[in-house]
C-alpha cells in the first residue's frame, strides 16, 4: 500500500508525464472535453425544450431520413478512414503516401457530408423553416435544428480545413506524426457528437 502510494507520488510529483502523453495531446483532450460540454449544454437545453413542448413536430414528416442515414454512413466511414490515416502515420515502416491517401478520403467524406447538410438546409429553408418559426409546430423545433446542426456543421467545416492543411503539410514533410493523431482526435470527436445529434434530434 505504502509502495503504491510512493509510486503514485513519483508519477505526479513533477518532471514526468503522468498521462504518458505529450502536452499537445493533453491540451487536445482538454479542448475536446470543453467542446463536448458545450454540446452537452446545447443538447441539454434542447431536451428541456423538447420535454416541455406540447406540439413538437414528428421528425419523420419533416426530414428525409434516408438522407440523414447517408450522412451518418459517410461521417462514420470518414472516421474509419481517419483512424487508418493515424495508424499509418504512426507506423514508421509505412510510406507517407499511405497516410496521405486515407487523409484525402477523410477530407472527401467531410466535404460530402457538408454538401448534403447544405442541401438539407436549403430544402428546409425553402419549406419555410426559420430561426424563429416553422410550418410544422413548435417554433423552437427549427431554432434547435439550425443551432445544433449549424454548430456541428461548423465543426465539420473547420475539420475539413484543418485536414486539408495537414494533408498538404504531411506531403511536404512539414507535419509530424503527432499532428496527424491530434487532427484525428478532433475528427473522431466531430463524429462522436453526430452520434448524439442523430439519435436525440432526428430519431427520438
Amino acid at each position: 500500500m505504502a509502495q503504491a502510494a510512493e509510486q503514485m507520488l513519483d508519477r505526479w510529483s513533477g518532471g514526468v508525464c503522468p498521462f504518458e502523453a505529450g502536452w499537445r495531446k493533453v491540451m487536445m483532450w482538454a479542448f475536446i472535453i470543453t467542446d463536448g460540454l458545450l454540446f452537452a449544454g446545447l443538447l441539454g437545453s434542447y431536451g428541456y425544450a423538447r420535454i416541455m413542448s406540447a406540439r413538437w413536430p414528428d421528425q419523420a414528416a419533416v426530414f428525409d431520413l434516408r438522407l440523414i442515414a447517408l450522412m451518418t454512413f459517410i461521417l462514420i466511414s470518414s472516421s474509419a478512414t481517419m483512424a487508418n490515416a493515424v495508424g499509418a502515420a504512426r507506423d514508421e515502416g509505412a510510406r507517407r503516401s499511405v497516410s496521405l491517401r486515407w487523409l484525402l478520403l477523410t477530407i472527401l467524406g467531410g466535404a460530402a457530408f457538408l454538401g448534403m447538410q447544405a442541401y438539407e438546409w436549403t430544402h428546409l429553408i425553402g419549406a419555410g423553416a426559420r430561426l424563429d418559426g416553422n410550418p410544422w409546430g413548435d417554433p423552437l423545433f427549427a431554432s434547435y435544428f439550425f443551432i445544433l446542426t449549424g454548430f456541428h456543421g461548423t465543426h465539420v467545416l473547420i475539420g475539413v480545413i484543418v485536414l486539408t492543411a495537414l494533408a498538404i503539410r504531411w506531403q511536404k514533410r512539414l507535419a509530424s506524426r503527432e499532428g496527424v493523431e491530434l487532427a484525428g482526435l478532433y475528427w473522431h470527436f466531430v463524429d462522436l457528437v453526430w452520434v448524439f445529434i442523430f439519435t436525440l434530434f432526428y430519431l427520438v
Partner: protein
C-alpha cells in the same frame, strides 16, 4: 509500452469498429421504422447511441490504449457533467410542462 503498441496500425480493429457502428445505425433506423412501443424504442436507440459513442472513444480515439488516468479524466469529466445537466434540468422541464397544461 502497451499504450504505444496500441497506437500502431490496427486496421482490423478499425474496420471491425466501423462495421459495428454501421450495424448499430441500421438497428436504430429499423427500430424507428417499426411501430414498437415508445419505451422499447427509447431503450434500443439510447443504448445503441451509448455503445456507438463508447466504441468511437475506445477504438478510434484510442482511449482504450491510453493510460487509465487520461481515460478517466475524459470519461468522468464528460459523463458526470452530462448526467448532472440532464438530471437537474429534466425534472424542471417535466414540471413546467405539467404546469402549463393546467
Amino acid at each position: 509500452m502497451v499504450a504505444k503498441a496500441g497506437l500502431l496500425l490496427r486496421p482490423r480493429l478499425y474496420w471491425a469498429t466501423w462495421l459495428t457502428l454501421l450495424a448499430l445505425t441500421v438497428v436504430m433506423l429499423v427500430a424507428d421504422g417499426l411501430s414498437v412501443p415508445r419505451l422499447a424504442f427509447l431503450v434500443v436507440v439510447l443504448s445503441a447511441m451509448l455503445v456507438k459513442a463508447s466504441l468511437i472513444g475506445a477504438h478510434f480515439m484510442h482511449l482504450r490504449f491510453e493510460r487509465l488516468p487520461l481515460a478517466l479524466t475524459v470519461i468522468v469529466g464528460l459523463l458526470l457533467t452530462g448526467v448532472i445537466l440532464f438530471a437537474l434540468i429534466a425534472p424542471d422541464a417535466v414540471r413546467i410542462a405539467a404546469m402549463s397544461h393546467r
